[in-house]
Symmetry: C2
Subunit: 427 residues, 2 copies
């Protein structure tokens, strides 16, 4: 809706976005041995990779004020109202159900036990779930209300929901150790608390967040640099950009996290974004591709991490309809829904200008409708096609260092595919 | 959630449930001729029977503070949040999208005209729609988010949404004359304003509403009489029952409105409910069968009409899943969602006890789990089977006068079916 100025808004937002302290659900080191011993005796539930991403998310306070996987009251509020009402009457945005599914056998094994041990995908005991509540997992209803469709082919549904059990188990998490991935990228995984410290250290008086799950091209960079300029014009002295790629589950044809992180590094090395005023960190959430419902989650989590400006574009968290030839969501609905979402009133939404390749100026520029024919729109699909076929995109589309990362990735992918499935072309 | 007592709550609720006056969108008589002449010159949209029911609903303030069919901002809030935020920050419950669909031809004919004339199903000009906004009607998303399923066979979807156009048109209503049906039942169609007057006239200090779309059996009556007793015990001096059958669109196998009204009259005549403390009126809304989403609408509309206690039962506004052998909704979700719904905080929800036929006492009684085998549950389907086959239900299930109305109706239906389709048995 609006760009709300004034540094008073910002300061209160940096300190305390939700009227409560950030949760940290990781057990203190001194208690780990005893808690582990206690957990060993509990009935166990095995987590999938995505379940573990949610444990990570909840444990660090991104989903504040959630203390664990949703119980039924929270689940129903999330599903029907996209927000939770706290005991004191405060409305908190909570648009995605953050739930843990179990099957009949798990349910039987748990019986009436109050607490459950959660086992990570590699067999380690990662957390206790306290005071559990088990309730029905009506997948059809969850999918319909979250995505606004039940068409087959939604990536998160196929990967996470369809194979999951018919029960949900809610409870409070006590995470036994900080969640680590040991993939060489853990130093990018700053918690909301760590991000806030970093903003303080840099003496940010405004933090603007940019959510992405794609390589950064010069159109993105133009937008981010322009946003910084506008914030300076609004009177902020030190706006800091949180370049915040999503690090959890993404669909198979998205560029993998390690490649994206390397590409983002090059963009900073090449000076397209200013390292002095940019923090690059990983947002550990899995991706739902649930459009207007999910964009609220993306914004809410960043507020919890101390951001107070959020850049929202065309069709955020959207994708093509899985069975029809159209966008799944109206491209304007994400922005509209976000601007009206209960519990996100403090958020300053920054309208996203459309950037495209200006064939006259030979660079990415804000689209000028008066000379529309000079502009070339390069979609993600088009970009991937360039990289895959080894064709160079137009000069000025992306910094050369960043582009090379992508070319290398698609080359490796093709040689892999060729060696595995010689007769099949990648799509 | 809770039964909130205290007469202070009630008085404020009777006067002003939403912090604003009830709307009345019917044009004063003195202006009708000139408004009609003005409307004649506008582009026209033809209303279906159900569209007209919504014009009726909106015009009398049941959907307060809506002044007309939803524009896109209201539609999106309803769909995603089940509530609207007013300019002053007030949250108002609004769980069903109240929208008017038009097709491509209508859209073209309207062009950029600001105002549109609405034509009733019988060809009369019924209303002006002012300052219209036309936006896309994504039926799949609307259905998924409203019903939590897109399975074929949802009655409102098949009757109203599927045949409708691919655009929605919002705007402010100026209704040219009060909506009348001329079916001999208009005297039962009291507006929220008229109901409030009636409650005042009877000096009600509590009004408890009972929503139904089925004949009243002695189990319902037991519940209503018991509620009155409990309200008296809570200290209210004159609780009034609003027996409020739904009068708009219902699915084909529900008992028609005229038969239900006759049946309800007999129940009062036979003294099963006390006419002194009961007001029977028709709620002119169409039925969605959208369970937890719709029960909020049912409650909200009755608050607007001055009720402050709402009786909610098992699976309110629910039905069987259209393609699977199960209830479409969890039978407890309606009550739970209602108790947490934003904008309905003032509502006092009365838990619904389960009544069944006590074969020992030979009457409807509250179910006693300690002697479960003595109780007979008579479903709507079972009741219809009794009436259709001419078999009498157990003594004490329904007053004889009311029962005869049903028997007569099913007899007339069978002779009709026999004469029309001699080889087909009704189901």
């Amino acid at each position: 809706m609006s760009v709300k100025g004034g540094s008073s808004v910002i300061k209160s937002s940096l300190i305390d976005p939700d009227g409560g302290a950030l949760v940290d659900l990781v057990v203190p080191e001194s208690e780990r041995v005893s808690k582990k011993a206690e957990a060993e005796l509990m009935p166990k539930v095995r987590l999938s990779k995505v379940d573990l991403e949610w444990v990570h998310i909840i444990s660090e306070g991104w989903a504040n004020p959630l203390r664990g996987f949703m119980r039924e009251d929270e689940y129903l509020q999330s599903l029907h109202f996209n927000c939770l009402k706290l005991k004191d009457g405060t409305i908190v945005n909570m648009s995605l159900p953050i739930v843990l599914a179990i099957d009949d056998k798990d349910k039987e094994a748990i019986g009436s036990a109050p607490d459950v041990g959660l086992i990570g995908p590699n067999g380690d005991l990662v957390s206790i779930l306290r005071s559990v509540q088990i309730y029905k997992h009506n997948k059809e209803e969850r999918i319909a209300r979250t995505w606004g469709t039940t068409a087959p082919g939604l990536p998160y549904v196929e990967e996470v929901i369809t194979p999951a059990g018919n029960w949900l188990i809610g409870g409070d998490l006590e995470v036994l150790e900080p969640i680590k991935y040991n993939d060489g990228l853990d130093h990018y995984r700053l918690s909301p608390r760590e991000l806030r410290k970093e903003f303080d250290k840099r003496q940010a008086d405004a933090v603007f967040a940019f959510q992405l799950r794609n390589p950064v091209h010069n159109g993105h960079a133009l937008l981010m640099n322009d946003t910084r300029k506008r914030l300076l014009e609004m009177g902020y002295k030190n706006p800091i950009l949180l370049l915040h790629p999503l690090g959890g589950f993404v669909k198979a044809d998205d560029v993998p996290l390690d490649v994206r992180m390397e590409q983002h590094s090059k963009v900073l090395e090449d000076g397209v974004l200013d390292p002095e005023t940019t923090i690059v960190a990983i947002f550990p959430s899995p991706m739902h591709y649930a459009g207007p419902t999910e964009v609220q989650w993306h914004a809410k989590a960043r507020i919890n991490a101390g951001a107070n400006f959020y850049i929202v574009g065309r069709d955020p968290a959207g994708m093509g309809h899985p069975t029809e030839k159209r966008d799944l969501y109206d491209p304007d609905h994400g922005k509209k829904v976000l601007s009206m979402a209960p519990g996100l009133e403090k958020l300053n939404i920054l309208p996203f200008k459309v950037a495209a390749y200006d064939t006259q100026e030979k660079k990415m520029a804000f689209f000028d409708p008066s000379r529309a024919k000079d502009f070339l729109f390069i979609s993600g699909t088009k970009m991937r096609t360039y990289a895959r076929t080894g064709e160079n995109p137009p000069d000025g589309f992306m910094c050369p260092g960043g582009w090379n990362v992508l070319v290398k990735y698609y080359e490796s992918l093709q040689s892999e595919e060729t060696s595995q499935q010689p007769a099949v072309l990648s799509t």
